[in-house]
Symmetry: C2
Subunit: 434 residues, 2 copies
Amino acid sequence: VTPYELIKRKRDGLTLDPADIARFIQGFTDGSIPEYQMAAMCMAIFFRSLNPTELAAWTEAMLRSGEVLDLSETPGIKVDKHSTGGVGDKISLCLAPMVAACGVPVPMISGRGLGHTGGTLDKLESIPGFKVNLSVADYRKLVREVGACLIGQTATLAPADKKLYALRDVTATVDCIPLIASSIMSKKMAEGIDALVLDVKVGSGAFMKTVENARTLARTMIEIGAKMGKKVTALITDMDQPLGKSVGNALEVEEAVAVLRGTAAADVTELNYALGVEMLLLGGRAVDASDARKQLEGVVRSGAALKKLQEIVQRQHGDPEAVVDLRKLPRASQTTQVLAEQDGYVSAIATESVGLAGVALGAGRERVDSLIDPSVGFTLELKVGDAVKKGQPLVTVHHNGGPRVDDVCARLKAAYSVSAAKPKLSQLILERVE
Amino acid sequence: VTPYELIKRKRDGLTLDPADIARFIQGFTDGSIPEYQMAAMCMAIFFRSLNPTELAAWTEAMLRSGEVLDLSETPGIKVDKHSTGGVGDKISLCLAPMVAACGVPVPMISGRGLGHTGGTLDKLESIPGFKVNLSVADYRKLVREVGACLIGQTATLAPADKKLYALRDVTATVDCIPLIASSIMSKKMAEGIDALVLDVKVGSGAFMKTVENARTLARTMIEIGAKMGKKVTALITDMDQPLGKSVGNALEVEEAVAVLRGTAAADVTELNYALGVEMLLLGGRAVDASDARKQLEGVVRSGAALKKLQEIVQRQHGDPEAVVDLRKLPRASQTTQVLAEQDGYVSAIATESVGLAGVALGAGRERVDSLIDPSVGFTLELKVGDAVKKGQPLVTVHHNGGPRVDDVCARLKAAYSVSAAKPKLSQLILERVE
């Protein structure tokens, strides 16, 4: 079967054979199948989708395009968490040490900011000295010795996905559930994990705009995991407003530390515990959710979770003092407040706009080679449902001057809606899928 | 608007702006928009189509990607004919001189064989010395002085279409009506014509397998023509069996000459007149269809049409004697007959198989760089509806020996269906669309 015939079959709604899919992905990876044929295939998949068998074959082929890490030297069930991306989502920074402190090994390969969403690697790098580019040998060693390691994607893991993602990004085939699901799952399966908790975001700040799409994505990934013999649980969570109060790299590290001290805002604290409960259950370290919750609260109360974060930072060449003495984190030189223009209630926050305002300020990248300013970002003084008086601060902008600050403030003002009536609040955790 | 956004808009079923389409085609032609983006766009168009305004803009942009010939120095309404391709379709060879002999200038840029279908250029080149690669200046001159000129596509006409066709051919986006229609129309409009008659083939030997698809293609091309201020008439004609009795290059020249002598089979004769009537009407040289028919019969009877063919051949460097003394055309050294295996009626001829058998014999190309043998081909001794006795010849194969003759004969035998009952005959001209 030629590449042409495979594209035509998919285009016409026929089913592809797993062996043909494997050859197609292999050919794309080694360059014998040109990018224009893969572009046509991805667009055909956008319209025709992939059935579960095709999708498992597609994911498996991407996984097998590179190295698959073996963490069997570390005893226990290795569990990772993956978020589909949002604004203010600093959960990995507090969740990994908290879960590791309870004895579940957490091998975590994270990404950088993408579009309007922030990235765990960028946040970690705001800790002075912190290195995210460790060797595979060091990654294995830290998972075994520390119980957690947070690194970036390496060139050897799922190279087909790296190449395919870059192509999808320029051919309008990113927002396609089977392609999203296989991209995530091929990378995660290459880490050497045994189980995975998914945080599927939905809302104005997420890639999935409806609960229905988020549920389909969650189920699709769980199905792929099942075909590969890995347990996967998903929480569908609200991203109709930023998570927590901070947006920006060093600011989010600070808020993650607050979660581990038990002093953070309710939403980010609750989501951290909810995902931690799922990880402890999958890791076989808790008899039930209530037992898991107690253990997690225990390591926060005792300070063991924060100590684990310090250990991770130290072993990854960062300054462990920076996460207890927050003056050691990068700080912006100025703050400017965005003020409310009327009385009422905050009724909505256009979350993607907040993320893009952060990018414009330098907290994220406008181009692949843009430099990030780790110190800049926002403190959201008010969130959806909060009462507001005219002249009260909505957002504090942390910046270092420059010509774009006014524009950023204007965007933030426009992102906040204030209404006379108190809005209905949406739930933080919308569904659990397993 | 970026190329990415345009692909996404089309993918999502939104409408593209004509100016954006022009820039997209322009960028594809000059290489600033990569092939993978055009591949994704074509697949999105396969699923979402193009509305009439988009399609006119797409065609116009392809037309404007190269030179648009100006034939205004030749007085009168210049009319061409285009066939969507079939087996045994030698109509251009007799139609062009017949119409030119009636005073309508016929500027005709033709193609080579494609897949199972034959090509006018290949047939013309079986006339000793005939040249299809004339300069634009010579083409202009011959249209003016002879009233007809039959040449091949030049690199300067619609280069975007040439590049796009090659890409569609490897990304499974060939059989897409708006892309087919814009490809044909951009090339035809670049010839400098004022009006066009389309012969849209339908059936087992055509690219369009249903009358419905053929009608849609015809209407789409007529609509494009209207938007560009050109009159277009289409006939939807039967290609459920080969046209006439000959398949093969020199053999088809011979049959075209028979049409101009008034001695050819009824189907090819009738189609030639029907298309000629439409060309005379569009060319303003006849008051009605009956007047047009009389003029066409007149130039056949008087020999003026055959004389015009001789003039064309001579002015295009061919031997004008070869079309009156047919021994001067290339002749195969052997003939082999394919015999019927039972009594009954020929009920169907698998026309695409006949075309592919011709390619296998050397009458067409298996690869772009294959050499054609102008002498080989088939005489169809019986056609659909004819009574047949066991042992009677179905086809005479004209060949020069070689290991593939047996296979070709077997294919031809398999292509003929013989039934006990006399089959219902389909009409040659199914519909007229204007």
